[in-house]
Symmetry: C2
């Protein structure tokens, strides 16, 4: 992968391996990419916390990699994953992309309910 | 959208509105986002050429926006689109993500054939 192009990072599209739903977008540096391939579980690089982290390390909601696709320029990747716990978003929704931008500019929620209560999951 | 977080840009996941296939990842600045919403056709910001461009302006293979989803942090978006011409990748493949990264590290092509011949499309 070409990590040089974007400050050492590559954006990852994380997609449910069965439904094709896009669950989140996050960034991997070289180390996160290697750890993800070695362990079969999604690891990311947090720009705000400046550290490597494994998705689910607090919540238990890990992401198991089923397939990795790379783009024509080798500067982005799609990870098809199985989401343990059923929800990828820290808000408790299945997908981080649970809001639609309407032509009016309004945001409407597209999911009917949260999968988990973040107050319970992240207080443990 | 929060354009401040990543050097004025927001990554866009471009997804076929019918199949859910991820076709490409590209970046929008504020102007590209506004032009996309106004026209209903995908506009991007090219970091290498330092300019706004409309997908399909050379090839005619424009992308018609069907739905826009935004993520929990408002720093990424999913655009569900109809791909005119059937292929999003400048190589002629349907998707930019037409290669699988195998556990061995090898890249294998996942699409059976190119949709168009880039030498023909881009020489016109």
């Amino acid at each position: 992968m070409d990590f040089a192009k974007f400050h050492g990072l590559v954006p990852a599209v994380v997609q449910d391996h069965q439904t094709g739903e896009v669950l989140m977008v996050a960034y991997l540096n070289r180390e996160a990419f290697e750890r993800t391939r070695e362990t079969g579980r999604m690891h990311y690089y947090s720009r705000s916390r400046n550290k490597l982290w494994m998705k689910g390390e607090t919540s238990g909601h890990v992401q198991e990699v089923q397939e990795i696709l790379v783009d024509c320029d080798l500067d982005a990747a799609v990870f098809k994953i199985r989401q343990v716990g059923g929800a990828a978003c820290h808000t408790g929704y299945r997908s981080c992309f649970h809001r639609r931008l309407e032509p009016s500019g309004e945001l409407t929620i597209t999911e009917t309910a949260k999968v988990f209560d973040p107050a319970q999951v992240y207080s443990q």
